[in-house]
Symmetry: C4
Subunit: 172 residues, 4 copies
Amino acid sequence: MTEEKIKKIELLLLDVDGVLTNEAIIYNDDGKEIKAFNVKDGLGLRLLMNAGIKTGIVTGRRSNALSCRLRNLGVTLLYDGVSEKGSLLPTIVRDTGVSPENMAFIGDDLPDIPLLKRVGLPIAVRNAHELVIEICEIVTEKRGGEGAVREVCERILKTKGLWERSIHGFVS
Amino acid sequence: MTEEKIKKIELLLLDVDGVLTNEAIIYNDDGKEIKAFNVKDGLGLRLLMNAGIKTGIVTGRRSNALSCRLRNLGVTLLYDGVSEKGSLLPTIVRDTGVSPENMAFIGDDLPDIPLLKRVGLPIAVRNAHELVIEICEIVTEKRGGEGAVREVCERILKTKGLWERSIHGFVS
Amino acid sequence: MTEEKIKKIELLLLDVDGVLTNEAIIYNDDGKEIKAFNVKDGLGLRLLMNAGIKTGIVTGRRSNALSCRLRNLGVTLLYDGVSEKGSLLPTIVRDTGVSPENMAFIGDDLPDIPLLKRVGLPIAVRNAHELVIEICEIVTEKRGGEGAVREVCERILKTKGLWERSIHGFVS
Amino acid sequence: MTEEKIKKIELLLLDVDGVLTNEAIIYNDDGKEIKAFNVKDGLGLRLLMNAGIKTGIVTGRRSNALSCRLRNLGVTLLYDGVSEKGSLLPTIVRDTGVSPENMAFIGDDLPDIPLLKRVGLPIAVRNAHELVIEICEIVTEKRGGEGAVREVCERILKTKGLWERSIHGFVS
């Protein structure tokens, strides 16, 4: 059952383009990338990490803009320039000490499929390719870059019974 | 009553990301932020200040792009890099001489809640988190970055009977 | 009648923010502006100028990004940093030799009203303020930055019987 | 029949603004262009090229941002700064060895019409001008910059019976 799978999550892995961003790949005239993230996703990831759930990035691309956003958020686990996401799994297990069934991964396109198939909780954003949506346990209501990641973070925290404590400092 | 609360407003406080902007956090390759504001919000803030109502910014983040926009608009009251917005209230009272019941604050996410709860008129943008919307007196029709702030500025001016005078130079 | 007014147009004046762009005011970290225009508007303005109809910009702001776009399009008549658009009219008449009844102006917000009221054909973009829409002869179907200017250019060319000739090089 | 025409395609030509991007022409303060592409379009073009179908760009504009994106994708056939797209056809035939009936071209505006009329499979994005849509064999469901090119790439691969092989590395 989905709820049972969510309860086991100790590590949330994220693709970047189309998941943490809308699908825009923005280049300036020097060929450097500009990237647009979502402020509400950022708070979701912070709440998740504060609650003791690890986060990490798995992306086929590489950019300074991404590194800066991750530094700003305190996300330290970054696998970028990854050509085969599925074969990265043993490395992730080794680096984090988390076993695959305790991992969730949010993806949106074909290169995410091999890793999505190997983790305990595969998640597709609403704007994901149909073949990605087919194999995922959860499809977000929001699109990538428009709060899809925040939605997942809150669902994990609520299902694990960590939500009230997470927001205590804000609402009390 | 809402109208009575609006009539008392002497200071409009604003969160930035998700309120004065859509929810995009944009980084360039040097890790510097680019920010997109709304031109109609700008005129709304100018009309409000011309009518003698103070404006100010309360944000957890910090960027040159924001400072430039504020300088352009003539908004001089800026609290940025604020980690606990609620505990900032005494400072705001001291700096402005305005008491909390005469303040409005427009927010969109959990960190805005402590300050929203302490001001006379708490306002949520349409794209605000559900917990923010729950505690607010007003929810805007427009989204942050798409004219939500302009909407609030006009409503304050109209409710206070200052609108006709505000636009006199344009329509006469 | 609207069609009669359109037939008289010899000069199309345009506001920038909210008309040639969506309403975004974008600042980078150096406080410099980035501006996003619409490619289809660009062709519309070129076709209009090729057909002998003059074009010009009337804006309260000023940016290099705008100047570059105008140079790229061949629009040479630029009034920027204008604080009172209505009182600019005699200057425009003197510079262009066009009388007010032969001018159209596309605007979206309160500062455009004084000039809109003085030209022969006042036009509002769909995203214009309600007070602007009220006084305009035409309201575009498209929003500013999404093709509103192209829509106006084509309507002028078609009403004046210049459309077939304008597109002859493309469709023959 | 459309399917028969698709089966013959050996070269997919693409306009840029409005096709590979939404219609935004973005200038920074130095007059340099920033361009926003779509990540899913990128994978579509890679899959197409991996399957042996050539790709190329035909645009009236010129920017470093475009060149960088093309280099990133491995698209080497670039005709930019083209003033008359129709008269470019003999050059394309000579450079690629592909005859016009085996070419598809995706366009969105009037300058694309002369080339669209001369290739075997003319394709319009959903946001194309009505005169472009009228003469095209296919109109995409998605808009330019929002996955229109990916949609075409997948349709070509599926119609030619190359899809299963293309995605084998992802789904097996």
